[in-house]
């Protein structure tokens, strides 16, 4: 009951992408949403996190831990995002990137501990002062996930987070992500166009160019 979408409708320029789409994602569960490009899967994530591009029409309620976040600004929703690109901030060290995500008001000691733990989990214990630019693609992705989680999100949205990685890395990072989600016990929604990325429940969105855009779960 941790991430709940109720009757989501999404359309652009009169074209319906989603019609009365409802979904519940449990804690620790990852639900994957698949479909061809343009079917509205990324726009759904945009609506959920509050960054939907202008031009879309959307309605429906979003509940995170039983709190209605539908009309809250993005920064108040407590929804974490993981993108294709790792988007580590180039002007901060790896440790500072992680520290940026930590909540306010923690003691210096606890901050340090959390960061060390996160670096440990990412398998990069000695990288606190490293320049993000010196990291490999896989390392950057792991740090990026850790950064997202340090902000203590109540739900996680993943927008094709594996698509930029090569096959070998991809497999390892995938398991890393799903394990972490289970450990943290938060609900996650994953958008992808690759069946292999999925884990658990899969929802396929129809090609909406056929004008009858209805999701079937």
């Amino acid at each position: 009951m941790s991430l709940e979408l109720i009757d989501i409708n999404l359309s652009i320029e009169g074209r319906t992408l989603l019609h009365d789409f409802s979904l519940t994602v449990a804690n620790g569960e990852t639900v994957s949403i698949m479909g061809p490009s343009g079917c509205g899967k990324s726009s759904l994530l945009g609506y959920l996190c509050g960054s939907l591009a202008p031009g879309f029409k959307a309605s429906g309620e979003i509940y995170v831990r039983a709190e209605n976040v539908t009309h809250l600004p993005m920064e108040k929703r407590h929804i974490g995002l993981l993108f294709q690109d790792d988007l580590l901030f180039p002007h901060m060290s790896v440790g500072e990137n992680l520290a940026f995500a930590l909540p306010r008001g923690l003691s210096r000691k606890i901050r340090q501990e959390r960061i060390s733990q996160a670096l440990e989990s990412a398998g990069l214990p000695d990288f606190h002062n490293a320049d993000p630019a010196s990291l490999s693609g896989g390392q950057r992705s792991r740090i990026s996930l850790m950064r997202t989680l340090l902000a203590e999100p109540r739900a996680l949205l993943l927008d094709e987070p594996f698509s930029r990685l090569d096959a070998d890395l991809r497999q390892r990072f995938r398991s890393f992500v799903f394990e972490t989600i289970r450990e943290q016990n938060i609900p996650a929604l994953l958008v992808t166009h690759d069946m292999q990325d999925c884990n658990g429940r899969i929802i396929t969105l129809a090609d909406t160019h056929a004008k009858t855009g209805v999701a079937h779960a």
């Binding site: 509050g50 993005m74 920064e75 108040k76 901060m92 520290a99």
Partner: protein
């Protein structure tokens, strides 16, 4: 291009930085008493004794530093407020459209506008006269005030838009939307994202422009003459007055003072860098302390209003100049003229014609030279991104980063020795020193964007480099060439010190005349000159915008 053209380009590209350096070093000779052309042939510390015994030298130095640094800091803050609060709003787009014409207008014309706005009998005073029950202009020093507040305001009105222009270009190259999305998904308000994520990445990109603004604000002369403190004036103005004094011995302390000015600019630059360092250290923990911020609509709205007010004041002061040039009868408390007339234009326009032609001839000649040289460098200098190339291009900035007064005085010393001052060609070449870097830097951007495959296709078809260059590359880049031409004209039109110094007072341009008239009483004539100062660059920019539209009216892809 011929194989030797690269060598030529390498050689030529060092000429301007070399002249600037020669000028900067050359000024040390008269500063230490050696100026054979004026009959001083022995080194001594006498010029420094004279300089240091000048009454109020300390005040001059302190005020010069104060006005220059204050103007730069406030202009930068305003620019910061603009990008942080106006992004993705209509005001951003409106600003983009207003900036080019605003920046094309000479500093001195804007200073005259502010003079008309703020002077005791100016527009603001007229607005206040009702509630304050003033029948006569109040006896307050609202312009030329001893602390230089009106000077600071004028500099801000001109430099904040310049920094905003540079910032807008930097924003276009930055992934602002994505940074905001990441930051906000981590719980930060947009304002905090701007400060902690976007701004820190933008700042390094505009740093050079900040130093240009700093050097300019510390050493500006024309604006200071119009609206700056008078008794005592700021140091650059004092130097000019010594140079223009009939007593040629004053040349030597003037040279010493311009070495001092160079020291002030360097000091301010070092101070700036030290402050950057301290702020960076102090804010390091703030950056990652996790403070998410509260969204306060009030703060965002007041930021926007502040920027709108800045733009409005700049535009309004320019419009007042136009109004004054048509005002025949405009008594004190009246908000607008009671009698409008073309008489000012009819009566005084003949006086403007000579300076107008001098301005035009200097501007077109220096710009055409500047453009030709820039194109030559862009074509002939090896297009590699190595340290040497970077060094060459950065050295082009030198005339913008050093105080004009210092290196121009050094060059002048040489020219005076060779009896080459006061000639049109000398003044034109001195304009080139400033016009060229702007032309080059502006064109370089367009040259980089040009799709080389057009040239390759042209070469394959025509088999001639020259033909391909003239028939393919130049026409495709014509719109950019025209805007650069307009920019060069605007830069030259605005130049005051090079014209006065190298021209030995024999060449009168719109700008030198406007500055000279600004201390006199006839506002209408002054307005006329200032309007002409505005019209000239605006005319060229409008042409640069409209001509390609007409020429390529049947070539849709050229108009994008």
């Amino acid at each position: 291009m011929l194989p030797s053209s690269q060598t030529w380009a390498r050689l030529l590209s060092t000429v301007f930085p070399f002249i600037t350096l020669i000028g900067t070093i050359g000024v040390f000779l008269p500063a230490f008493g050696w100026f054979p052309a004026l009959g001083f042939q022995s080194f001594s510390l006498e010029p420094w004794h004279t300089l240091l015994s000048t009454p109020a030298l300390g005040t001059m130095v302190a005020k010069t530093l104060f006005t220059g640094i204050a103007a730069t800091v406030i202009a930068l803050l305003l620019a910061l407020i603009f990008v942080v609060t106006c992004w993705n709003t209509r005001l951003w787009k409106a600003t983009e459209r207003t900036l080019a014409p605003l920046l094309a207008i000479p500093h001195s014309a804007l200073a005259i506008g502010v003079l008309f706005l703020l002077s005791p009998s100016g527009f603001v005073s007229r607005l206040l006269s009702g509630p304050m029950e003033w029948n006569r202009p109040p006896d307050i020093l609202t312009v030329n005030d001893p602390y230089g507040f009106s000077l600071i305001l004028t500099l801000i009105l001109k430099e904040a838009p310049y920094l905003v222009l540079v910032l807008i270009a930097a924003v276009r190259q930055s992934p602002v939307t994505r940074l905001l999305t990441v930051g906000r998904s981590l719980g930060y308000t947009p304002l905090q994202c701007w400060l902690k994520l976007v701004w820190l990445q933008l700042y390094p990109k505009i740093r050079l422009s900040i130093f240009i603004v700093l050097a300019f604000s510390l050493s500006v002369i024309d604006v200071s003459l119009i609206i700056g403190p008078a008794l005592p004036p700021l140091l650059p103005v004092q130097i000019l007055q010594w140079l223009q004094s009939p007593n040629i011995e004053m040349h030597l302390p003037a040279a010493a003072a311009s070495v001092l000015l160079l020291g002030l600019v360097l000091f301010a630059a070092v101070l700036w860098m030290a402050t950057e360092f301290v702020i960076k250290k102090a804010f390091k923990s703030w950056l990652t302390a996790g403070y998410r911020g509260n969204s306060k609509a009030l703060m965002v709205n007041s930021g926007r209003s502040l920027w709108l007010f800045t733009l409005f004041t700049a535009v309004a002061s320019l419009l007042f100049v136009v109004v004054w040039s048509f005002a025949w009868r405009w008594r004190y408390p009246d908000i607008l003229p009671s009698v409008w007339s073309l008489k000012v234009w009819g009566r005084y326009f003949p006086r403007v014609i000579d300076p107008l032609f001098t301005t035009l001839s200097l501007a077109t000649a220096s710009t055409v030279f500047g453009l030709a040289l820039s194109i030559f460098f862009l074509e002939a200098l090896p297009q590699t991104r190595n340290i040497r190339k970077n060094l060459v291009t950065s050295s082009f900035y030198l005339p913008l980063l050093l105080p004009q007064m210092t290196f121009l005085l050094g060059i002048h010393t040489v020219l005076l020795t060779l009896r080459l001052d006061g000639l049109w060609i000398t003044v034109m070449l001195s304009h080139l020193l400033f016009v060229f870097p702007y032309c080059y830097l502006n064109l370089a951007g367009f040259w980089r964007q040009y799709d080389q495959r057009y040239t390759q296709a042209g070469l394959l078809l025509s088999g001639s480099r020259v033909k391909t260059f003239i028939r393919v590359k130049l026409p495709i880049l014509l719109p950019s060439l025209l805007t650069t031409l307009a920019l060069g004209i605007a830069v030259s039109t605005a130049l005051y010190l090079p014209t006065v110094m190298m021209g030995a007072g024999r060449l009168e341009t719109l700008t030198t005349e406007a500055v000279a008239l600004s201390s006199g009483g006839n506002r209408r004539v002054l307005a006329l000159y200032a309007v002409m100062q505005q019209l000239l660059p605006v005319f060229f920019f409008a042409t640069a915008l409209l001509l390609p539209r007409w020429l390529f009216r049947h070539r849709k892809d050229m108009l994008r």
